[in-house]
Symmetry: C3
Subunit: 330 residues, 3 copies
């Protein structure tokens, strides 16, 4: 495999075969991802945004849940690096015949997939795959458990815009209980030295803050210390970064929220509330947004929003991860 | 970007970022598309039909409606030119999460798509996207409004087979009211100097001939002068080109047509009726065909039919358009 | 087209345009596929598993039925050889508009597909396509009729592991009546000189052993002589190869089987039953498996199982077939 030429780290290595969550990533590993992403971002800005780095490698996306940005982001990342990308989604696959996840994974490994990128509604599904396969497994979101590549792109965006993560106050606002994005960010942000405040209405906050039962994966450590807050004004007070999470309509049906209007009135990230954050504080959102619910349109598209940059950085981060995983074998 | 070598037009340029409809295409622009298509068609005939012209470019197809030929045609066009092509269809995307069209478009732009090819059930959807994006937008069919790449391939096929478009009589027969193909062809054919006759049963003809309300897109001019005819024999009389349109089964349900049989009896393009057209008149159909309804099998597969050539020319025309749009930035 | 360098057969040729079934394959043709597959398998083991052999060729997969392994296997095969691969599945195509199969095929040919790989629920569908098209058609499974590329990969795996096929006893156990895998294997194995025993409960065995009516394709010869057996112990006695077939849940509904448990008790391929086969006998399964029904987990993942090798060989065999079909025109 031809190496990507980046001045900073000619010999970037990640001492792991899989990307499952950030709970066991060291600060050094995250910084290796950052540096590799810097080089990838430069490639993305080229007139001809294509390199032969992963020529002859196969990236297989295995999505059991709907997705626009994550699947497309991985596909774009793989193709820009010259890999072959094969997509497999539930509705068009043998999954309908009831084959077990592990057998599906073994089959994909046997067709010589180098990396399997999996999204699944069940927490822990990527771990199950990783236990049984020799090829690399990347978790692209498993139930309410983890979404490590989203967290890495959030971390990268913060570091890119503010120059550092250490010592920052990051407020994450919304449906914390069911958010794999919040959970993976909590790990990554804590490891990088940020102070995290989780904020939402009590039914959407983890009770007593252990993670819910379905998010406990065998061998995983407990979540790091974190402040939990039900008052959004206090959560945003002096924040360097505000991350709004999507409110799922399903939460209404489940009786956890009285109405979208009531949620918006009490927790929407608005210009007025952003005034409590630090001047120049960043606004992030993992998308897709419900504008007018968890975030006001003026904030979503305002000068503090880095939501589009997050998407572009997502491609660069995933290029970096695919490169680092494939470089292991080279 | 490496230029495609074509003797005729070393410096082809299209002064537009988007392909939304043909209503504002000049004759010169259409001729630029024709000349560029000539070069692309030659590539299609090669043993190795692949060039690196759009290497490093990303063509993203965003289809909210079912399609065989149009999506495959764009995918083939992009791949032959060396672009990376990423497909996104409704059922497997975040669209199910209710993200707005514009937000989806912004996300796809942020993953560095160079061209978004969109098909949508709502007239005007591609315009909305184009208003908010910097990357190129190509309309691959929006509701009953427009289908400009289909019209361009029809125009190209006529010009290729008959040597000119100016002065020809073109009869378009079928469900005119709901046909985006008819509407875009009317613009293109009129601009190129053809005389267009629209023919169909009264309930499928536009009343008084303004386009129906849902086809009016902000800023668009009125349709050009055209002859409307309910008698198919008169419509075909002396025609140089006969274009049969697909009759949707849904029209029966809507009560606009008594039955397929009745439609076929009165409007089917048959050998007998084709005898009224000029000798050597062409038969076109945008596909997919209901053979035995709007067109008889002997005409569909007869010597005057250029229906297969239309499909091949569709790939060449879309190669030309992708090339011309991407060449703008190079 | 650049030739794949294989010492053994610099000039491999297959005197056919389509791969529809193995009933008319000669021993020489099958051996040509084997030798070409040897070369392809070497490519699959490379660090950079990519060659430009089919650059500029278009492989189009047209799947009217769900599939993981077969579609992915063809896609991987095409991409490794440098072809462009375009996927078309029922739910996202014009098929929903009711276009005829032949018209769909003509359209795909007109976009310049070089090979159409079709899976269809109706026996004979690939034959219909082949009758009307000039491009190559590969049958990736048609109803209960044939699945020639699966049979070729089974044959290749047996020959690779045991050194020969001639004279071997091969027991195929399960839902013989509805199995396209069994039917194509019967042809291929017989041609290569193996002795085949078909085994299953009486309702899943062909009565009097003509194939069922829907599997009779015009012009096809009768099936070769074969032993039919309802006792699995007798079937496995002294076998060199045991192939377990998937039991479809639908068979229960149809009243052909009392229960999965009853089937498993009487026909499951277990360690105990495998003791009757020759020492070192191979266990094959076309996948996806119902572990614990037609095959016990210890056998499925045991030392005699070559199920994962089958999957890898499937990619190599399909590379060989795509290469041989495209080489015809070069």
């Amino acid at each position: 495999m031809r190496a990507v030429q980046t001045r900073e780290q000619p010999q970037a290595v990640l001492p792991r075969r899989h990307i499952l969550d950030l709970n066991d990533f060291t600060r050094e590993e995250i910084e290796t991802v950052f540096r590799t992403t810097d080089g990838m971002k430069e490639i993305l800005t080229r007139q001809i945004k294509k390199v032969p780095t992963l020529r002859g490698k196969t990236v297989l996306t295995l999505f059991y849940e709907a997705s626009t940005r994550t699947r497309v982001s991985f596909e774009q990342a793989g193709k820009i690096l010259g890999a072959d990308v094969i997509n497999l989604t539930t509705s068009t696959s043998s999954v309908v015949k009831g084959e077990s996840l592990v057998d599906t994974g073994r089959t994909l490994q046997a067709v010589r997939a180098d990396v399997i990128v999996i999204r699944h509604a069940s927490a822990g599904a990527p771990y199950l795959l990783a236990q049984h396969l020799q090829c690399s497994v990347v978790n692209a979101g498993d139930g309410a458990h983890a979404h490590p590549t989203q967290a890495l792109l959030d971390l990268y965006t913060i570091r890119e815009k503010l120059g550092r993560i250490e010592g920052l106050k990051v407020a994450i606002v919304g449906d914390i209980l069911y958010s794999r994005v919040a959970r993976s960010n909590l790990w990554g942000l804590s490891t990088m030295g940020a102070r995290v405040v989780l904020c939402g209405p009590p039914p959407l906050l983890p009770a007593g803050f252990p993670p819910p039962a379905d998010a406990v994966v065998a061998g995983g450590p407990a979540l790091p210390p974190v402040t939990v807050e039900t008052d959004v004004d206090r959560a945003l007070d002096g924040a360097d970064v505000v991350m709004a999470l999507r409110i799922q309509h399903e939460r209404m049906k489940g009786g956890l929220l009285p109405s979208m209007t009531e949620y918006a009135r009490r927790y929407q990230v608005t210009e007025e509330r952003m005034a409590r954050a630090k001047p120049g504080a960043l606004v992030l959102h993992p998308g897709p947004m419900n504008e007018g619910v968890e975030i006001s349109p003026d904030v979503a598209h305002g000068t503090q929003s880095v939501i589009q940059e997050q998407v572009t950085n997502g491609v660069a981060v995933r290029m970096a991860l695919l490169y680092l995983l494939c470089a292991r074998e080279a």
